[in-house]
Each structure stands twice: as C-alpha cells, then as structure tokens.
Amino acid sequence: MSVRTLPAVTKKPVLFTLNGSTVETAVHDDRRVIDLLREDLGLTGSKEGCGTGECGACTILVNGQPKLACLMLVAQLAGREVETVEVLERTPDGQRLLTAFAEEGAVQCGYCTPGMEMASLALVRCGEALTREQIREGLSGNLCRCTGYVKIVDAVERTVKECAAP
C-alpha cells in the first residue's frame, strides 16, 4: 500500500496494526517508533539501548521481520503490521518462548530480553529445525552484557523444537 503525504500537512494520522489491533495515531511523523511505543502508547516492554542500531534492545517485528524501533520513524509504519514483546503472552509460540526463557535462566538483568525475544520469535516462526549456530546467527544483532548467551540459545533451541513437534 502506498501512502502519499501532502507537503502542507504536518501532523496526520498514521494507521497501522499493533499486536493485532488497529492503531491510529496523530503524533508527529518524525517521532521515533521507540518513543511512540514507550511514551505515547505506554508499551514499555521495548527498550532503548544505544539508540543507534548497535544493540538490538529495541527490536520489534514489522510485517514479521525484525527491525529496530530506534531507527524507524512513525510515518514508516503506515499500513504495516507491528509486533512488540507485549504480543508474546497472547500467542502459543510466544508463550512457549516466555516459558523457555524463564525456565532456562535466559534472563538476568532483563534489559536485552524484549529485543532478544522478538528476534527469537522471528526464528521460531520460520518453522525450520534451526541449529544452534543458526540461532546464534539469528540473535547476533542482540547484545547481552550479562553474557547470558548460552542460556538464551538454550531457550530458543528448546522453543524451536517444541514448536516443530506435532
């Protein structure tokens, strides 16, 4: 779907889907998506780490693809399907992921967790029997400074297996 903006308009509503619900928002077009989510919509699950695309803490899914909410502007969301970490508890795959992260000890300080889980959700949904190496590659854009990578990979590996099982 294409969106045309008239140069004279400065504050027009942007329509998109957020975690399954339609959202119409009239914030300034150039507000960052991370600020829209956290400040305007109160969805504080997504975290801002570096703000420059180097840490992955703000990872969200846009039309199913991991993207960075700190490097997107609200206007770019028009007509898109957006998912944030808040969606996890509402879907079977997401619930399995949350349980696995908790039970495998994949969460320490928790700051990287929402971004890590959204990158993981995209991996789980690809439906392939991913190897640990492929999982590591899939999570390579998400920094964890408590160095909990092994347990995070354990949790994702477990979820991938659970979701592949009939």
Binding site: P7, D29, D30, T52, T59, Q65, G138, S140, G141
Partner: protein, 277 residues
C-alpha cells in the same frame, strides 16, 4: 518536526525533489537517522524511498548480468537466487552488515551513497566492476563504482539525483570468492579492515587475482602489485606473504577510534593469508 514523504513512483519522487530542494533522501535510514540525531538542519523534509517498488527489484540483463534496485535490503541480497553462488563475494559481504535487523532495513544503494571507507558492500562491488545507475528528472546516467565514489562520504551524486540501480556484469567463474572482515566483534561491528578476493586458478596456479581492501584508505583500495604477485604462483602461504609485502608499500591506513594505522596495515596483509585456508 519535519515532513516525511513517501513517493510511490519515480515521477512523484522527482516532483517532490523539485518542490522541496532542501529535502534529504532516506533509503533504509540506518546511517541517516543516526546522523540526524546531531546534524544541523534536522528539520529538513525527508523523502523516503522505501515504498518505491521500482527501486527494490532485481532482474537479469540481456547480457546475463544482474541489476539490483538501489533500495534492495542486505537481507534480500544475502539470499536472492539471482545472486547466491554466482555473486558469492557480494552475498558474503551482505551477510556481515550489522545484524539481522539492520540487514532488514539497510540498503545497498544507501551503503554506496554513504560512501564510508568501511562500507561492507563496496570492496565486492569494486571487484565485480559494478556500475551505478543514477536517475534524475532529466534522465539517467551510469558510472563505474570506482569513479562514482570520490572519498569518505563523497560521491558524484548531484542535487536532484538518486542512485536507482546497481548493475553487475555477467557472473564469471572464479575458483575462490571470499569476503573477510575484522571488526571489534563478529556482529554489529564496523570493519576495522575488510578484504574481498576473487581468484581464478588453472591447475594449481593463479591466473587472475582481484583483491580489494576496505577501511584502509579513503576509499576501497585495489592493489595491482599484490594481485600481480600472485599470478603464476600456487595459492600458498608463501605466495600470499609475497603479495602482502607488495600491499604494505601501497596501503596508508589511518589511526581512529577503532584501530591504529599500524594494526590496520598488519591485518590488511594478514587477511590475505586466510585465502589458502
């Protein structure tokens, strides 16, 4: 507060660029939006190219070459059937850009327009003799990539122009295509030094070598002396060490926050040694 515009066709794009000459062009935004955090004139309008379908298509040329729309993301380049295998040097490099989420956003045209000495797609594009197609309301022109890029963040792109496509000549058969990158860590790291290499062998002997380094000079560095040093030799640690010797006479890296010049120089040579692994 700035306006953000999403033209759907090139005609609409050039109309907007004419109406708003002060506007900036945004492809994936992964470099631009970081720069705008501190730039002057942050309220200049942004024209986003992401909904221009004609800029994200890949197609085969009549001569067998491949054209890549400038707004093609690195995720698509990594996996596109027209590129995988045949242009392995480019798909390997695409896979080292940022992390997966960055690769879902960042585009090859943006990487060229940014013209960073560390741009990961640039050394492969130099070796492939890629051409950059530039579009403006008045028409289209084409430049070889090594002429288009003039220095760090400097290109021949003029006001009113955009990069529309990247044109790769027909794929040739190479025995070895390898992209090597050294950064502070494996992912999400800007290259401290990178090397793109394409080697053709007859029997055991190198008959053609193309080598290009990133992050060791103002633009991508080709080193004909190092390439020539390999021709006629087997691809071995000895011949590669000789090629590295020729490189040290050419390369003039800089000190910066990521590495010292001496380190870059050493690593640039040492990366060659990986080619016989």
């Amino acid at each position: 507060m700035k306006q953000i515009l999403f033209p759907a066709t090139l005609k609409e794009l050039f109309g907007l660029m004419a109406d708003l000459p002060e506007s900036r062009i945004m492809a994936g935004g992964t470099d631009l939006l970081v720069a705008l955090r501190t730039a002057d004139g942050a309220d200049r309008p942004l024209i986003a190219l992401e909904r221009l379908e004609e800029l994200s298509a890949l197609s085969v040329q009549p001569d067998g070459g491949v054209t890549i729309g400038a707004c093609t993301t690195f995720s698509r380049i990594m996996t596109h059937p027209l590129l995988v295998g045949r242009y392995s040097i480019l798909t390997q490099a695409a896979g080292t850009v940022g992390g997966p989420a960055v690769r879902n956003m960042a585009t090859i045209g943006g990487n060229i327009a940014t013209a960073s000495p560390a741009g990961d797609s640039l050394p492969p594009l130099y070796l492939l003799a890629a051409a950059v197609e530039i579009n403006a309301a008045a028409g289209t022109r084409m430049l070889p990539i090594d002429r288009f890029i003039r220095g760090p963040r400097k290109t021949l792109l003029q006001p009113g122009e955009i990069i529309s496509r990247i044109i790769l000549p027909p794929a040739e058969k190479w025995n070895l295509q390898r992209f090597e990158k050294v950064g502070r860590r494996k992912s999400l790291a800007i290259a401290v030094v990178s090397l793109a290499a394409m080697i053709r062998l007859e029997g055991n002997c190198v008959v053609e070598a193309r080598l290009a380094w990133g992050s060791v000079g103002p633009t991508v560095l080709r080193c004909p002396a190092a390439e020539q040093a390999l021709v006629g030799q087997p691809l071995s640690q000895e011949s590669l060490a000789m090629a590295a010797g020729s490189l040290y006479e050419t390369v003039q890296p800089i000190d910066d926050l990521r590495a010292s010049a001496a380190y870059r120089r050493t690593v640039a040579g040492n990366l060659l040694m990986r080619l016989s692994d």
